[in-house]
């Protein structure tokens, strides 16, 4: 097969399939569409039965929905992956060093590399974390780095998710689904496994336990509950790690420790992998109406008796305004140039830049500094004149709330449709784990794909799907 669109397609060129896809392309040519359509339906039934669903926020019926799964894998060569993973590792170390600095000596502010007001005016900055070092010095135990590609060697980091990145269950379930549907492919194509992730996660969490902890650390996953959009992932990870899945009301402070209510009384826990946002973590310290957290947990944390992963306050490192300083942050802490490129970013807080952005809205993507999920953003080239005019008003009212980026010519990977293969834009979220023992990155990650033709929005809440991501053995 050959490519048909103007964007860089990771599978097909004008001369046929690119190298990493050669074997897959040959296999695909032997398949018939009816069988693949049937497989696709089987995959959907499997996801539904397993309950791999999510709830969409803001929808009244709170129905569970599936994230569509596309059966064409996204394939990355070992060489491409080596560079990506080195770049991610470098970033994760830099983010962790940045957080430790921001919450302690603030040298990067004093050196004038990052403006002080960016931290001082940042809602994600938590004064409660000042002059405190989390167990093992680790802030970001789990990081999901969003990466996009525009050409054979052009990878860009779009976002560093250092709070509670989600999606790893899809990475694992997508592989499981592919293994069940197309076992023959894995016989002829050597793909690096991802199945060690839960084991590695548990190890990283245990290795980050407070130093006072004796014996094997007791780890739990803290979820906001079954109505949370990522609840499946929370229960999946707890299940795969073999640890308890708790909610705030299962926990309380007992003798200066956090303990969970078991059938036989309260049992002390050492490490909480929390999937509850900072704001809701401790009603005594943060949002007083929160029912999702544990009253008093921040005191226990500061006393060194519990590890919270990721640490509270990591959000200062991953908002989109800080993002624009990432290359400098990496240089400052590692002394190296950033291995992975940033997307050029215009800070609307700067008056000259704001003018440029307003003049060029039709060509730019404008995002809220603290936004996520693809909400509250403007995709200039896809917007109507009215949408652009409306957005300009919002932008002028609060310039520092926005950044703008050029529209990237995102790479495509084909998806399977009734009419055969069709190119769609993708991104990639690899997952990195950090503990005092170092950084480990699962080969691959979650590939999200914008299923609508021409769309650049890959978010599952807005019509995005997922693909299995293969990193080939050398």
């Amino acid at each position: 097969m050959v490519k048909t669109s103007a964007f860089f397609d990771e599978m097909l060129t004008a001369d046929g399939a690119r190298d990493p896809y050669a074997k897959y392309d040959a296999w695909f040519a032997q398949q018939n569409n009816e069988r693949l359509a049937q497989k696709s339906a089987e995959a959907e039934a499997f996801f539904m039965r397993t309950g791999i669903t999510f709830n969409v926020y803001g929808q009244s019926d709170a129905e569970e929905r599936l994230i569509p799964f596309d059966l064409v894998p996204r394939i990355i060569s070992d060489k491409e992956w080596t560079k990506l993973s080195k770049g991610i590792e470098q970033r994760v170390y830099a983010i962790n060093a940045f957080l430790h600095d921001i919450y302690n000596r603030q040298e990067i502010l004093r050196a004038g590399i990052v403006p002080t007001e960016l931290i001082a005016n940042n809602d994600a900055f938590l004064p409660q974390m000042m002059d405190f070092t989390p167990p093992g010095g680790i802030y970001t135990h789990i990081v999901g780095t969003d990466i996009v590609r525009t050409g054979p060697d052009d990878f860009f980091v779009l976002e560093d998710n250092a709070r509670t990145p989600s999606g790893v269950s899809y990475m694992l379930e997508n592989r499981e689904t592919m293994l069940q549907m197309f076992p023959e492919l894995f016989g002829s194509i050597k793909v690096k496994p991802v199945s060690d992730y839960p084991k590695n996660l548990r190890r990283a969490l245990e290795a980050s336990a407070p130093s006072s902890c004796e014996g094997r650390p007791c780890v739990v996953v803290l979820t906001p509950g079954i109505h949370n959009s990522a609840y499946y992932e929370h229960s999946f990870l707890a299940d795969q790690m073999g640890v308890e899945l708790v909610e705030g009301h299962d926990l309380k402070v007992v003798d200066g420790h956090i303990a969970m209510r078991t059938t036989r009384g309260y049992k002390v826990i050492d490490v909480i992998y929390r999937r509850v946002d900072d704001e809701f973590l401790d009603p005594l310290t943060f949002n007083p109406t929160s029912m999702l957290g544990v009253p008093g947990i921040m005191d226990v944390y500061r006393a060194g008796n519990i590890t919270i992963t990721n640490a509270p306050g990591t959000g200062v490192a991953d908002d989109k305004a800080i993002y624009s300083y990432m290359p400098d942050i990496i240089k400052f802490y590692t002394g190296e140039r950033a291995i992975l490129k940033n997307v050029e970013t215009f800070r609307c807080s700067e008056p000259d830049t704001l003018k440029y952005v307003l003049d060029n809205l039709a060509d730019l993507v404008v995002k809220e500094v603290h936004g996520s999920g693809g909400y509250g953003m403007l995709v200039g080239p896809a917007a109507t004149k009215k949408e652009i005019a409306d957005f300009a008003i919002k932008l002028k009212a609060r310039p520092s709330n926005y950044i703008a980026q050029p529209t990237l010519a995102l790479s495509t990977v084909p998806i399977f449709t009734e009419a055969g293969l069709a190119p769609r834009h993708v991104d990639l979220r690899p997952f990195a784990l950090m503990s005092p023992n170092g950084v480990s990155i699962t080969p691959g990650g979650l590939t999200r794909v914008a299923l609508a033709e021409g769309s650049l929005v890959v978010n599952s809440s807005q019509g995005g799907g997922t693909k299995d991501t293969w990193v080939l053995e050398d």
């Binding site: 539904m48 039965r49 397993t50 309950g51 079954i226 609840y231 229960s235 707890a238 299940d239 308890e244 899945l245 708790v246 909610e247 009301h249 299962d250 309380k252 969970m260 209510r261 078991t262 059938t263 036989r264 009384g265």
Partner: protein
């Protein structure tokens, strides 16, 4: 194991059992409606009363005709006691306790929910009712089978079984309570049309009309049926059987945890109500009073179990 998880397993199986029993009651009521249309309204009302739903029913529906009652009991989402609501609640509890369930049990519960959500999305015409009720029973059996066939016999399993036994005890007691007058050995009823219908309905409500014939080898007669439903330890829905199951599972938990709790003593006391009793002495005490005591004690025991195992904080 988390107290919440234990509670989630226990409630998941209480809801499933109640959904299944509701389907049985509908089946028995439907049979009367078909065969003896004069008695239908009274019979449907007694089904609603048995399920302790009458107050709510009266605010929602105008009459006790088949269509209304069946709709209310099967698919009314504003009725927390409808089969659909209970299967949803059971499935929510399964989601809550997923780390404690085998994948087979999860699939069985989730399949049940998906199947019933689809089956009950529109009002059920009478012609479809038998098939729908059959599906409910079938799915329920599937979940139970997955549980028995795949779960480790540890505390998780015992909490599931405990939920089933306790709910069933309560359900059977309520069924007897609503119809206790038909079971009294009163000469006025003997041979009348009324008692035969009521007896048959009673037995059908607990799916035991064939078992009764196998086990008792007797014509339908009030004391024999009462004895069968209350005291027969071979009948898996009799009060004595359920009391035995409750005691047994609480006993396993005490063994697992190396400690006897208040609920063990209460369960023993409940079981003692049936030990060495004959039906004549229960009639002497008053069947109505006896069954009411069973209902009250079962409810008290449920509260004790909740506290003993810290289901809620």
């Amino acid at each position: 194991m988390l107290g919440k998880t234990a509670g989630g397993l226990y409630w998941m199986f209480r809801y499933l059992e109640r959904a299944e029993n509701t389907a049985r009651l509908i089946e028995a009521g439907f049979r009367i409606a078909l065969t003896r249309s004069d008695d239908a309204e009274a019979e449907w009302k007694s089904v609603i009363v048995t399920l302790a739903s009458n107050t709510k029913y009266k605010t929602k529906r105008k009459s006790y005709d088949s269509t209304q009652v069946v709709d209310f009991l099967l698919r009314d989402e504003t009725n927390s006691g409808s089969v659909l609501s209970m299967v949803k609640a059971a499935r929510n509890n399964a989601r809550l306790t997923r780390t404690a369930l085998t994948s087979e049990v999860w699939y069985a519960v989730n399949d049940t929910w998906m199947a019933l959500k689809d089956l009950l999305k529109d009002p059920i015409p009478e012609t479809e009712l038998p098939a729908v009720l059959a599906t409910i029973r079938q799915q329920s059996a599937l979940v139970r089978g997955a549980l028995v066939g795949t779960m480790l016999r540890n505390d998780m399993y015992h909490f599931c079984r405990l939920g089933t036994a306790l709910e069933r005890m309560d359900n059977t007691a309520r069924i007897i309570d609503v119809k206790y007058y038909a079971l009294l050995p009163s000469p006025a009823f003997v041979g009348s049309k009324m008692d035969n219908v009521q007896w048959e309905t009673l037995l059908r409500s607990v799916s035991a009309h064939r078992a009764f014939r196998w086990a008792v080898d007797d014509d339908f007669a009030a004391p024999a049926i009462a004895k069968f439903l209350v005291l027969d330890g071979r009948m898996p829905r009799s009060l004595a059987f359920c009391a035995g199951e409750i005691t047994k599972n609480l006993g396993h938990l005490a063994d697992n945890y190396g400690e006897r709790l208040g609920s063990n003593d209460q369960a023993d006391a409940l079981q003692a109500l049936f030990k060495g009793r004959d039906i004549a002495s229960i009639f002497e005490e008053g069947l109505h009073q006896f069954v009411n005591r069973v209902i009250a004690d079962t409810s008290q025991l449920a509260g004790q179990i909740e506290r003993d195992f810290r289901f809620i904080g």
